[in-house]
Symmetry: C2
Subunit: 273 residues, 2 copies
């Protein structure tokens, strides 16, 4: 399966411009033979937690989702997008009222096949504007690849990736909004997540300024041996990487981390910590 990853600059609260960016990327990716396009965290509305909480009209969101479904359908490509959503909307649970940061996987017919709500919110602004989700990442078979979703800060926690891997994920798609100065996240942590849980991890970041945030791209796709299958520089780009489930299976046969972890022992450690 050919995966494409959009790294781009969103225009905060300019949904028209951002959907145009996604539409163009989906067209280009589809023409190149990609089966799926991963886009950054909150890209259709821009990454600006406080402005979204203050200015984004919830009534506009169903229309945005419909248009994203239209993009997937028109280009015959799977699409991962990230938007604010209330938990009830997506059938999940949360700790309070208000928006979660969510991600949705559409199939090439524009039909949602997987939702995820961000469990680990990053920083005071996100926590003021959103509520954390608490459901584990789900796994769905997409074009023959068992696929899961996490969002941004989530993937920095090995526990979250383990939850996807132990549920069978072979591919983990991660919309992110990683500020400048944290390059060790894609370069070290993402590679380790892919290697230690033996799956493909794709990490799609913004590029450029949005609201008060500076993003410097650095999107990556890491393989189950910890190598980088694709890596972006700072500017807008479209990455491609082949997702090979046989490489995932070979890695899991070679060093069976998932089978040799000892959850029953870890449980006794948690209670004694």
């Amino acid at each position: 399966m050919l995966l494409s990853v959009l790294q781009a600059n969103a225009d905060v609260l300019n949904v028209e411009a951002n959907l145009r960016t996604i539409d163009e990327a989906a067209g280009q990716a589809s023409q190149a033979g990609a089966d799926i396009l991963l886009t950054p965290e909150l890209f259709p509305v821009g990454y600006a937690p406080q402005r979204l909480a203050a200015e984004l009209d919830p009534a506009a969101l169903p229309g945005v989702r419909q248009r994203l479904a239209g993009i997937a359908r028109r280009h015959r490509i799977g699409l991962v997008y990230s938007l604010p959503a209330t938990p009830e909307k997506l059938g999940g649970s949360s700790e309070g009222n208000g928006w979660q940061i969510t991600a949705t996987l559409l199939d090439a017919d524009g039909v949602p096949v997987l939702h995820y709500g961000k469990v680990h919110l990053f920083g005071a602004e996100e926590r003021a504007a959103f509520v954390p989700a608490q459901d584990p990442p789900g796994v769905v078979e997409f074009n023959g690849v068992r696929t899961s979703l996490l969002i941004c800060y989530d993937v920095e926690f090995p526990e979250a990736v383990r939850a996807a891997a132990t549920r069978g994920a072979e591919l983990l798609l991660v919309p992110t909004a990683l500020s400048a100065g944290f390059e060790s996240v894609p370069q070290v942590i993402i590679r380790s997540r892919a290697l230690e849980s033996q799956l493909v991890v794709a990490y799609a970041n913004h590029s450029g300024r949005e609201d008060v945030y500076d993003f410097e791209g650095g999107s990556v796709v890491a393989g189950p041996d910890g190598s980088l299958l694709a890596a972006a520089g700072q500017g807008p780009t479209l990455l491609f990487a082949e997702v090979a489930t046989d490489a995932v299976r070979a890695a899991r046969d070679d060093v069976p981390y998932l089978r040799e972890r000892r959850p029953e022992v870890y449980r006794t450690w948690e209670s004694s910590a």
Copy 2:
């Protein structure tokens, strides 16, 4: 605190030669001002699980421990060494009778201040020759630094490093025996462990052939920002790195991974997996 890390070739079942190597390294490290010397997995007896199980006389081990204590005392340096041991010997618990692979931290008086038994055995040979331990890594304050131990394959599991970090570890000392071909472990996983749990991780490997195994060094010390504080090539060497607890505290203030992980949520995930 100045840490030193021995990377060397052990001579299987030639305890005299191996203790001489440790003695010389301890002298050199002490003269350079090091407070502690970390040595590789099973170094005093050599890494050779099946030969150790068949040929090593258990009655010889107390004497080896005494001589290691003498090395620490004579050079006024802390010492981490790894030997086979029965669980009862070290006050731990295990899943059966037989030897565990263990590590011991001696203070500069040669007094044992911390023991650890390897929880994740690697490969069929280790599992045939040893029994796995199941106690979590302990933490002890050593020269003002909260210090913990893991062994080799253990550190590849993020769960094991989390157990040390959530118990307060600022420094994790890891004797290892990493075969050629797994360079991504020190270069990717160790750096991520240090970064995601925000502590210093030191990883001491063998160098050269022992029994049927080829070791190619690559020992490292990684800092709480994921950078390499020291890194060895393939050959025998003595690494040095300054362990700064203020860097650990700064990293934990900057991005509070340990405070923002959600163990209560992970517990519900485990039971639903």
